[in-house]
Structures are given as structure tokens and as C-alpha cells.
Symmetry: none
Subunit: 300 residues, 2 copies
DNA sequence: TTTTTATATTCCATAATGGAATATTATTGT
DNA sequence: ACAATAATATTCCATTATGGAATATAAAAA
């Protein structure tokens, strides 16, 4: 089991493109790389096979007899790879499977109901969903390991298309036992944030990132963070029971505030707004299960 | 013409080896790389195809359905690359390989020495040589199954180019026990051929053909052919031991006659002359190994 | 002969790869 | 239940590979 001097598929692609485009310079344009890189790939491929594949005749490159054999292998291998990719997509689509990624707060709050509704409306489709941080979700989208994502931050990558889903805010939220609630204080200045004992999500969480971005622009003392907790539900429980404060997404805080289970303390001259995003890989825009899920999202 | 996320053949090799060796650590040993590199190649391959190829089941990796398709492609692609490499080696050796055909008498008498000299002088070249009758040699030249022939008859075909090599004759030859030798007779008339008991080569042999052509033009009785023997060396032995006669190529008879082991009986007014030929297929005139062999022939 | 076209090479910055060391996951044995 | 073992995954870092700007070389065209 010895694999020595394995050729590069990118080298085979270069050989094929040189032949079919009639030269190195044209191939470079079609491959979106520079001319030297094309020449180098071709010559590197020759090293793999230990023989000349193209030689210069009348100023242009022509296949050698050996080159013709390698060209045939190149075309077959590349075509088969394309077919394989289609096959893999069919395999994924064939099961009508949506690979969905959502950030944690969205996962905790929206996902259960979304999944139930989706399953009732589209019983033929399947969903694999997972919760994750924005960064890793972005990676999974880019690499094709996810079909669709719903996120609290807009991904920043040329291969990802985003569309807005909902507008949201982060509310400074406390429980019923908090002194500010006891003293019937519902609005503060930003400087007063230093008086609070905070329990916040961990640093990678979208809520935390957005909070720190918004407060980082203010000339205030650092927050007094007593705890980092990896679950918004747990934070809500802590707020119920103690005298801590946290920044919660409005979609989580608002129902609780309306039922007087938690209290929103407004910050004068500060609204931490954000958008919830739908994100997809640019190359998967024909994914019909994802389209179905998005139509459901749009009903919110 | 877009080639994005092309897989790595080394990644395909890793996948194949993991499957066939039953795990990452064993695959690492077989590939002569470290375990982390194997894992990374596998996971990098998954990124190329945008789907999981192997997942951990009971502590070990197992192929996913997608992984099975990629494994199949991997095996095919790697095997075809191996075949391609062999093919390229054959192609390369092909240009250094001489397929030589010679008629039997030349094969018996000249070929051993020729091959030894050729091998010493041109160690980088290979020769496949075979003995044959003129007819079949001609066919093999025409069909490209032979590169070069040395023959006792000139082939007659538009695709075969011939050049003279040596001039030769056929000598009526007898052994020391023959009555004509005992009676010190060294020249006869053609009519006296009927008095001889002949041992000749088989009908397809060039010697036989040339002999019968030469004698067929004479108004003499048919030869008394006691034996047909398929080897000129055997004929020489028979002449030593008995009272038969034969027609031998001068290049075989002359050394023996000069040392009084055999005797040449001249035929008045008859010299059976012939030429030894170098023959090639018209379309293979740039065969440099053949040129090398011909240069050696020219030294005779 | 000069200009234009096509490919090859050099030098350098960046990206990719492999491995030692370590971490994590899972199974087995006591 | 815990410790030991087996298998895979991850981190960090050094080395190697790759692409491109600039330039050189080869060949054709004007």
C-alpha cells in the first residue's frame, strides 16, 4: 500500500484546461489563477508521472503521447468527481434532509416550536438541527456541512448569502427581587450599569458579543460580571431567584416582562438593537427543504 | 469551467486506507505518516465534499452512505492512476525496446553474437527477438508487431522498406564420408545432382525456397530428398556422419569447408546467389533503437 | 528588425501540511 | 465505579508547498 507521487487533481484540472482552452494564458483566465501557477501545476504534474506531458511546438504547447494518456485520465477523473458531487447532493436531497444550524438563544427559544410546525406542515422532510456559536456555524455553512442557518450575527463571508429575519434588541433585565425593581426604578443612565451584578452568557455567544460591542463604545466602567452561564434559560432562572442582572434578547425577555416575571430596565440614550439573520451557502440556493423552512420563518 | 474544492488524491488514499486497514492508526502505519495527518486528511476530504464521510461508531470510524460513494470513487481513481503509471512506463520502455525478427539460419548463426555485442554497446536498450519464417516475419512487420527484421528473402510489401545487408550464396555441401569426396570430386554438372541423397530444410525455410527457385529453372530431374530437417545445425551433423548432401548458406558452410570438416561441391555454370536483407515498417523509420541495431549490422 | 504573443523562471509572501504533544471519547477490566 | 487501554481529535509549531508580481526566454507576426 504505497502511494508515492500522487498527482494533484488541481494539476489534472490545469492540464485539461490548457488543452481545452488552447494554452496556458487562456487556461489561467478560466481557472482564475495566474499564468505562472498554471505552468507550475503542469510541470509539477509531469514530476508526478516522471515524463513530459506537453511540449512546445511552434510556440505553443502540444500533448506528448504520454500527455494524451494523462489527459484522458484527467477528464475521466474530473468528470467522475463532478458526478460524485451531484450524487452526494442527491443523496442529501433524496432524503429531503435539511441540515439546520442555529445560535443558542434562537435554538432555545424558537427552535422547538419551529420544528414542530415544520414537521406538521412538511411531513415528508427531515431536519438535522444543531446549536452552535456563530463562528462555527459560519464555517459549517461555507464548507457545505450545513444547508441553512438562523443566527444572531450576520456572517461575513463571500460564500454566504444572508437575509434579515427579525429585528431584535437586548434588554437589561432583572428579577422581581432586584433592588431597582423594589425601588420601582425602570430606567437608568449608562453609568449606573456599574452598580449591577451581572450574569452573562459566555464570550462566544452572540448575546455577549453584541452586548460588549454596544457597551464598548461608551465611556463607562467595565461591567461587574459575577457569572458566565452557558444557557439563557439558566440565566432566566438565576434572575428569578436573585438580584443579578443580564442582557436578554427581547424575544426571550418580552413575554416574561409582560407577565411581570422579569423586569426591563431601560438605559437612557441606549438601545442595543440587532437583527436575526437567515444564512445560506451561495452554492446551495436550490435546496427546496431550506426554502420550505424559510417560508415558515417568514410567518414570524 | 469551475473547479472548486477539488479533493486531494492523498485524501482519497487516506480514506481508502482507513477503511481497508480498519482505522486511523493502522492507516497511518501503512501510509508512513502520523495519525494526526491521517485524521486531518480525512476531515479535509469531508470539507471538499461538504458532507461527513466517516463517523465514530463504538469508538471506531465507519463509513457514512456518502462515505461509501466517495470510497468507491477513491478506489477507482487510485487504481486507474496505478494503471496509468504502468501504461506510461510501457510507453517509455516502448521507445527503448526493439522487437527484432530474424529468419532461422540467421538466428542460429548470427543472432547470439549480435545480441551480446548490442547489449554491451547499448546497455539502456532492450531487445525482444524471435526466429521465424519469412512469410510470418513480413506479416509482423506490416502489422507493427515487429520493429526490425533481418531476413534471407526480400519481403514484398508496399509498407516494408528493405535494404541489403550481406551477399550470400548457397553451397552444395557434403561430409567427409561422401563418395564424391572419397573420389576427390569437387565439381559436378547439374545433371549429376540426381545422384545425391539430399537432406534439406523444410519447405518454408528461406534456404529451401531459394534452392528450389534456382534449380527449378534447370532441366534436371527432381532432387532425391531423403530428409527434411528443421535445423541447419542438425543438417550439418547429418553431413558429418553420413553420405548425404545439402545446400547450406555460405556463412555457415564456409568456416567448415575451410577447416575440412565439410566439402563444397561446385556445380558447373551454376551459382545460387542471394542477399540477406534488413527490413522495416515504413511508418517506424524514426525508431532509434532499430537505428542502433542497424549500425551494428553494418559492421559485418 | 521590431513588436507581439506565449510560456518559463525567480523571488517572496502566504497558505497548507505533517508531527509531537496533548486532549477527548469510548471500551475493557478489575 | 474507577483505572487502564485503545482510538480518534485538536493544538501549536516548523517545514514545505503554492500562487503571483516581475522578469526572462522562445517563437511568431508585422
Amino acid at each position: 500500500m504505497e502511494y508515492k507521487n500522487l498527482p494533484d487533481l488541481s494539476g489534472l484540472a490545469a492540464l485539461r484546461t490548457i488543452v481545452e482552452q488552447g494554452g496556458v494564458s487562456n487556461a489561467a483566465k478560466r481557472l482564475f489563477i495566474g499564468q505562472p501557477a498554471v505552468t507550475k501545476r503542469l510541470r509539477a504534474l509531469e514530476t508526478c508521472y516522471g515524463t513530459s506531458l506537453m511540449e512546445r511546438v511552434a510556440g505553443r504547447l502540444r500533448l506528448t503521447p504520454a500527455g494524451e494518456k494523462v489527459y484522458t485520465y484527467a477528464v475521466q477523473t474530473l468528470e467522475r468527481n463532478s458526478l460524485l458531487i451531484e450524487e452526494l447532493q442527491s443523496l442529501a436531497e433524496g432524503t429531503n434532509l435539511l441540515r439546520l444550524e442555529v445560535t443558542f438563544s434562537i435554538g432555545d427559544h424558537f427552535l422547538p416550536e419551529l420544528l414542530v410546525q415544520f414537521s406538521e406542515r412538511f411531513p415528508q422532510y427531515k431536519i438535522n438541527s444543531r446549536l452552535g456559536y456563530s463562528k462555527s456555524i459560519q464555517t459549517r455553512l461555507v464548507t457545505g456541512l450545513a444547508d441553512l442557518a438562523v443566527m444572531e450575527n450576520a456572517p461575513d463571508h463571500p460564500d454566504i448569502l444572508v437575509q434579515k429575519w427579525l429585528e431584535d434588541e437586548l434588554w437589561l433585565t432583572v428579577g422581581p427581587n432586584h433592588p431597582f425593581v423594589q425601588n420601582n426604578i425602570r430606567e437608568i443612565n449608562a453609568e449606573q450599569l456599574a452598580e449591577f451584578s451581572f450574569v452573562l452568557r459566555e464570550k462566544q455567544a452572540a448575546v455577549r458579543i453584541t452586548t460588549e460591542e454596544a457597551l464598548g463604545n461608551l465611556a463607562i466602567e467595565p461591567l461587574n460580571i459575577k457569572m458566565e452561564v452557558g444557557s439563557t434559560d439558566a440565566i432566566v432562572e438565576i434572575l428569578f431567584r436573585g438580584q443579578h442582572a443580564s442582557f436578554l434578547p427581547r424575544f426571550i425577555a418580552e413575554p416574561l416582562v409582560k407577565t411581570n416575571k422579569l423586569y426591563w430596565i431601560k438605559i437612557a440614550k441606549l438601545n442595543i438593537k440587532r437583527t436575526l439573520w437567515i444564512a445560506r451557502n451561495r452554492t446551495s440556493l436550490d435546496h427546496h427543504v431550506a426554502e420550505a423552512f424559510i417560508s415558515l420563518l417568514r410567518e414570524y
